[in-house]
Symmetry: C3
Subunit: 354 residues, 3 copies
């Protein structure tokens, strides 16, 4: 196991295999703690973890808070609405206030891509020891979600020693609104790093333009990153690149070739506003073309498992009965993994702070 040197966790784009494996193995040891009678360890006693959720999400915030409490850290919670932001304070000023109060780790969610990185840069510029953990920024990344997905899958393959190599040559389909999904973006980095075959499938309007320009090409290949249409993309590829030269990344407009012999199927949450943006015809038609059903799963490996980052629109991304079927669904395990993985992340970036 490598020694952990990363202070912030903003993106998985430059994660190396040793880092993935350290997270997986640390999470496995915390999962063991969570099975004990007393589920707390004093590791982060005196450490302050502040959840700055400019975009509210009770379940993700609670997952981080529970992880922090299990490590005996103190938590502070900031959500807008009852906040100084309505009084004109900038986001950076809010972060500086929590820094000055004595925060050691900031867990940040914001609807704009780049906010956690900007705050991390400011923390470094000030030579503070604060760590920043991106809990979802716009359509950029959501690294803790991708890491808990990875931990969920690898733990299924080897509960005792979850590790990146287990995914080598597995076929993993990611289905849905790839374009707007920070979860997909982070997962593409981790899964391609593992050596898995990653198959993206979704309506052309919900695939990154860069990919769409390939037409029906199933095999990814490099394209000029400065293509003019990319400039108008909500998240220009030039700022947040994807591993498009990765030989094992595939693209599909239909779901069937993506599911064919798949070992794992990751579904993505569909935002209902995509319809009012005319990117989608209807939820019903979406379900007909891209929804995961028992019938469609017959295309996959017989022991295929389905993931979803939650919350699920039942009957849209996935049929309702399938979601509750423990033979196929890993949704509940993902939530459980979330606490262990977030304990691991807080521990790794916060361990040396007290």
């Amino acid at each position: 196991m490598t020694t952990w040197t990363r202070r912030h966790i903003i993106s998985l784009a430059d994660f190396v295999p040793d880092e993935y494996n350290t997270v997986l193995q640390t999470a496995a040891s915390f999962r063991e703690v969570l099975s004990r009678r007393v589920k707390k360890v004093p590791t982060l006693q005196g450490i302050v973890v502040a959840t700055l959720f400019f975009e509210p999400s009770t379940r993700t915030r609670n997952s981080f808070e529970l992880a922090a409490k299990r490590l005996s850290a103190d938590t502070l919670s900031f959500t807008p609405g009852t906040s100084a932001l309505t009084k004109g304070e900038t986001i950076l000023d809010t972060a500086l206030t929590y820094l000055a109060m004595g925060t050691n780790i900031m867990v940040i969610r914001h609807r704009e891509a780049g906010v956690p990185l900007a705050i991390a840069n400011e923390m470094d510029r000030l030579e503070s020891q604060v760590s920043v953990l991106n809990a979802g920024d716009g359509q950029h990344e959501h690294p803790s979600q991708a890491l808990l997905d990875l931990f969920t899958i690898c733990s299924l393959l080897d509960p005792d020693l979850p590790r990146l190599e287990l995914l080598k040559d597995k076929k993993i389909a990611i289905v849905g609104d790839i374009l707007h999904s920070r979860v997909a973006r982070s997962n593409i980095w981790s899964l391609t790093a593992s050596g898995a075959e990653v198959h993206l499938a979704g309506p052309p309007t919900l695939l990154p333009k860069l990919f769409a320009s390939w037409g029906m090409a199933h095999q990814a290949s490099p394209v000029p990153p400065t293509s003019p249409e990319e400039e108008n993309s909500p998240l220009p590829i030039t700022h947040y690149p994807l591993p498009i030269t990765q030989p094992k990344l595939f693209l599909h407009w239909d779901i069937e070739p993506a599911l064919q012999n798949a070992d794992f199927v990751m579904t993505l949450r569909l935002q209902k506003e995509r319809m009012t943006q005319h990117l989608l015809p209807s939820l019903r038609e979406y379900h007909q073309r891209y929804g995961i059903t028992r019938d469609r799963l017959k295309l996959c490996q017989s022991d295929v498992k389905v993931l979803h980052p939650g919350p699920v629109n039942r009957g849209v991304e996935i049929s309702s009965d399938l979601m509750d079927d423990p033979q196929f669904s890993l949704i509940s395990q993902q939530v459980t993994s979330g606490v262990a993985v977030r304990m691991a992340l807080l521990y790794l970036i916060g361990g040396g702070k007290a």
Copy 2:
């Protein structure tokens, strides 16, 4: 004292005397803890208590949270508004998420009757060890409120050994909007179980239709539970029965016979929307006919005490000066009892979980 076997606390309809007495005596021992210098016990260390308040109530939530913290449990708090519910997740999915995070006890409030039971059934179906505590569901029940009322009264009668039998043959009046009150409904179960004489008084429009059909009858007697008008009641008696065959349950349209020689008077919170629903003429007229005043209390026993679940509409259910008079008002003791009783309930249902 009996051994506690009940996993969930949803309703008092099937509580047996041993269970009431176990709650009362456990609460008495925690009241002793609360009088110590350090008011914490490590009993529920590592246990996660999640308050899922789909219908917000800061004071009740804080009471449960303080009870949980006194027992060294970790708390998670879910309130809608900043939540995934606005994103289309079902209530059951929310509960499943908190189950998967590692919650041991769910304290649930919802404006619809039956939600806590539905969640408890799902937790059992999944063979989870999770306990569900109903913190108020629609117009159904609010068992912890009735138990803290019971503890408050019994502690007054015998501080050292509060027990159900102390209420035998006491006369207790419940005054106000019986129809819509989950507090009344739970109290009717506990008080009739104690052997007390229970007298309900309120405007005919605010009494359960089942009772109203008795006209001015003061003595309860069984009526066909399938009467057609019951079908339209907001909470059909067929689903949530009341102990109408209980020989000591009485009904009044006027307040005076209910108060005559009463030992305790329980007032209920009046929702102001009852007026816009034309169930009430005006708050002023309500106070004139059913408000508790010093004059009216002269009808009662000289040492009569008044209870109210809070928050009080001063000058409506009860005159403002009476509410603050410690000679008559138990309102403050009820809040104090709330913490001890909720510690007892969390302890009893959560004791074996860690």
Copy 3:
């Protein structure tokens, strides 16, 4: 060091030097705790600190909560909106509920002056042992802010032994909306008590009428406190007096004489609603006449420092680059001092409670 006897902290109007020095020295010792590896002390274990913020403020509430947690207290948090207040409960009833739950210290913020005092009086009348700490009431006072300002300044002058006497004969300018500022009001008490020269500067419309009636007088002198125009002031001087007979309190309509040779400049937050109330021409003009800039600071001592209670309207009260310049700005230290000073206050008023 004197023995602390004050139960409530509502106002600094009657604070004596011994009390200021006790707060400063206690805060210094807690600052030392905050520099340790484990930043917690068990001092207030079992004590319940309730933050009752009828006027929401996440950052101030978090500062108090963190202070309470560092002292091992349990915290309860009340904010309106999801609260019984919307159901008609009075403020005093809310406080009585938290008293009955077992709260030991109430930290209260309200947009009306006098609310914390009214609650403190009620707590005393009931012979409870509860302490009340005013966390900002209307345009009256914000004592913990003034005490953390004092601690920040005195710690700069002597980190080891911050004490009131260090400010003797220092020149301190308070610039901005003095009239509506509870921060200014509390600071005027503490700074005049220290023997500093205090210079107030702001637009005539934003100075207390009592002061404005002096016209351009630079030297404060007593005026009849019953002047009729005072009666219409939002906070009549007869209720909340200022130390107007203090020989070292000066008044200016222009900023330059206030800054001349100043050692410290305290800027105040400008509420944008002052413009719609026609008390201000525009933010731009305000900045031109009263904003703190590098140029203006040249009037001051060369080692002048600038304070602001936050959140700052960048480019209005203070130029944006100056705010971030550690050579001049103490804003970040103020936030850090806040936790230590609030630990000191909770400790001093709560120490004997458990």
